[in-house]
Symmetry: C2
Subunit: 154 residues, 2 copies
């Protein structure tokens, strides 16, 4: 693997792909996240989950989103100044995350443009796909990220 390079806007181009390591989602982590942020039966208890929409214990979509961020922060994608999100479009959870799923993330650059109002920075759109151990997408989104431009001495 090449050494980590801190990326400026000028280093990014449409079609570049960044990968991540993987992270196993433990059942107790699913329950701990849910009890704090999404306390609903299908995220808290396997028995109670049976009578619900999901029919089994699944992770909160916001837990999947949070794990995705963790994987992205530790991925090959290293913009200067860190990963600064302005938001995301089309966030979807096409498949549930279950205990012991092993997740990883792929990011693909869709758009790169300088900011009109702030000359020292730019914006990129990145399709961020979170996959389980069967290469099935459990989350997709288009992330809008702020990335510094190289010429910053003005």
């Amino acid at each position: 693997m090449p050494p980590v390079t801190q990326l400026y806007l000028e280093d990014l181009s449409v079609g570049q792909v960044f990968g991540s390591g993987s992270l196993r989602v433990e059942e107790n982590e699913i329950k701990a996240f849910a009890s704090k942020f999404d306390p609903q039966p299908f995220h808290l208890d396997s028995d109670a989950a049976r009578g619900t929409f999901f029919r089994e214990l699944v992770a909160s979509g916001w837990h999947t989103a949070a794990i995705t961020m963790r994987l992205l922060v530790e991925s090959e994608f290293k913009p200067v100044g860190g990963i600064v999100g302005a938001g995301s479009d089309e966030l979807r959870w096409p498949r549930a995350v279950r205990p012991d799923d092993e997740l990883r993330v792929e990011g693909e650059v869709l758009e790169v443009r300088p900011s009109k109002s702030r000359p020292k920075q730019g914006l990129i759109k990145m399709r961020v796909t979170t996959l389980n151990q069967n290469r099935e997408a459990v989350q997709t989104m288009i992330a809008n990220l702020v990335v510094p431009r190289r010429q910053s001495s003005q």
Copy 2:
């Protein structure tokens, strides 16, 4: 306040507004969430944050999203079977969340429609706005939610 009513799709209509209680965001919670899911200096350490884009310690946007879900689950909005999200559009963080901010959520129904493929359920779009103690939006999104229909014996 009226007693809690479990809502079916037929009980929902465009323009309805649902409010939540409020939740104070503690500095140690910001750091704990970040160390688990978004370990970047501006979410972890006040001193390190000074030299960054944000110039001060702020909550991860995904922490704000998770808190929003917690507030929504405990809000007046009680669909039958729980709050089941298919995803969200136009998730934005227009303003950072700082230690001791007090957040609450407002949900406004934008669209209500039966599912074409699944006759027992429908889909709604809800604008979910997360406000701080100064009534400033810290997060906006359009949530896509699955809600059961009343006629389910077929």
